[in-house]
Symmetry: C2
Subunit: 229 residues, 2 copies
Amino acid sequence: MARHLYELCGADPDRVFSPFCWRSRMALAHKGLDFESIPWRFTETDRLAFAQHAKVPVLVDGDRTVADSWTIARYLDEAYPDRPSLLHGRPEPYRFVAAWNDAVLQPGIARLIVSDIPPLLREAERSYFVASREKRFGMTLDQVTADREQKLPAFRATLQPLRLALAHGPFLGGDAPDYADYIVFGSFMWARSTSPLSLLEEGDVVLVWRERLLDLHGGMARRSPCFGA
Amino acid sequence: MARHLYELCGADPDRVFSPFCWRSRMALAHKGLDFESIPWRFTETDRLAFAQHAKVPVLVDGDRTVADSWTIARYLDEAYPDRPSLLHGRPEPYRFVAAWNDAVLQPGIARLIVSDIPPLLREAERSYFVASREKRFGMTLDQVTADREQKLPAFRATLQPLRLALAHGPFLGGDAPDYADYIVFGSFMWARSTSPLSLLEEGDVVLVWRERLLDLHGGMARRSPCFGA
């Protein structure tokens, strides 16, 4: 049965960098499900019309089409109940992890790396990306990330909830990873795929945890195109 | 069967204000379990020697003694599996809610209200409290909370993860409250029990949620001694 994941990529089709697509990519690997990645780029909304959705990720699993990373995670647990669980039958507490990620971590990373993304895009997508993000931030992208080395300590301070949670086990999911890990890891993969900036310091348990995630599922994430470490 | 919850209180034994005790108090109410509150004050460590623990909450449930709010929540789910669940058989994702609460929300509230607490304590506890907190903050408690009205917007901005999570249902637990709600609510009850400062603005979904929690379990939290609204 054919299984396709439509994922956001840059000019290089192997450089998949959307944090939401990384959630779904890791979720599929967690379930042990093979899939073919279908490169998709900003502005190609027509190509997703079949899914009645304007954004990736979109999963086509045989005759089922599922859009949106959250819906994909729930679908995978329902369709493959005998495989390792992502949400353990109760998505509610994972909503808070996603809320923290979307309200704090992802915007925090964006302010450090957003200017690194345009050079990775084709011309058509670059124009769209720069215009939409400049509008969102109210300044040029270089202005957003100016003096970013000086902003790193404040960014790292916002990761304290991760450190406290990881004091109880190697993964946010406890002894084994679950969807909480993939939500947060998706944001770090977004940064790793697009920017040379080292977000995390040596000795930080969040870095140790990220390395652990990079090694999961045969090192799938570690092999993905990135900059530096 | 006698059930006793040792709880931190001020000079007024009815003014229970520890955020961790409030977690256990709400957890017991969630389970529909009656209990007698045993007032306990800072420095009365001898009175907890039987529990081999130096802090409250401590629950004595018949012949079982359970210390620490997290352990109490797990114990209640195990001992009363037929009552409404707190952690739904999987504590791990609730660890992150607690981590965010302990790293962000509780310190944020402390910086706004800590100077309101000493007048509520007896002389013996007041000396201990002021000395230990001044040492922690490296300044007087009045200095910690100086200009607090001006600090409120920044504090309220840190609540954004709660707002995103509450977009999906009336409680962090979804359609019904669970331990995620009680973890966060405990911090708000700490503030409500000790300070006249209004942490939340009209129109904030976090305020609407807090009102919902105040009404739960027959309005137990709403009836507790507080200042203003």
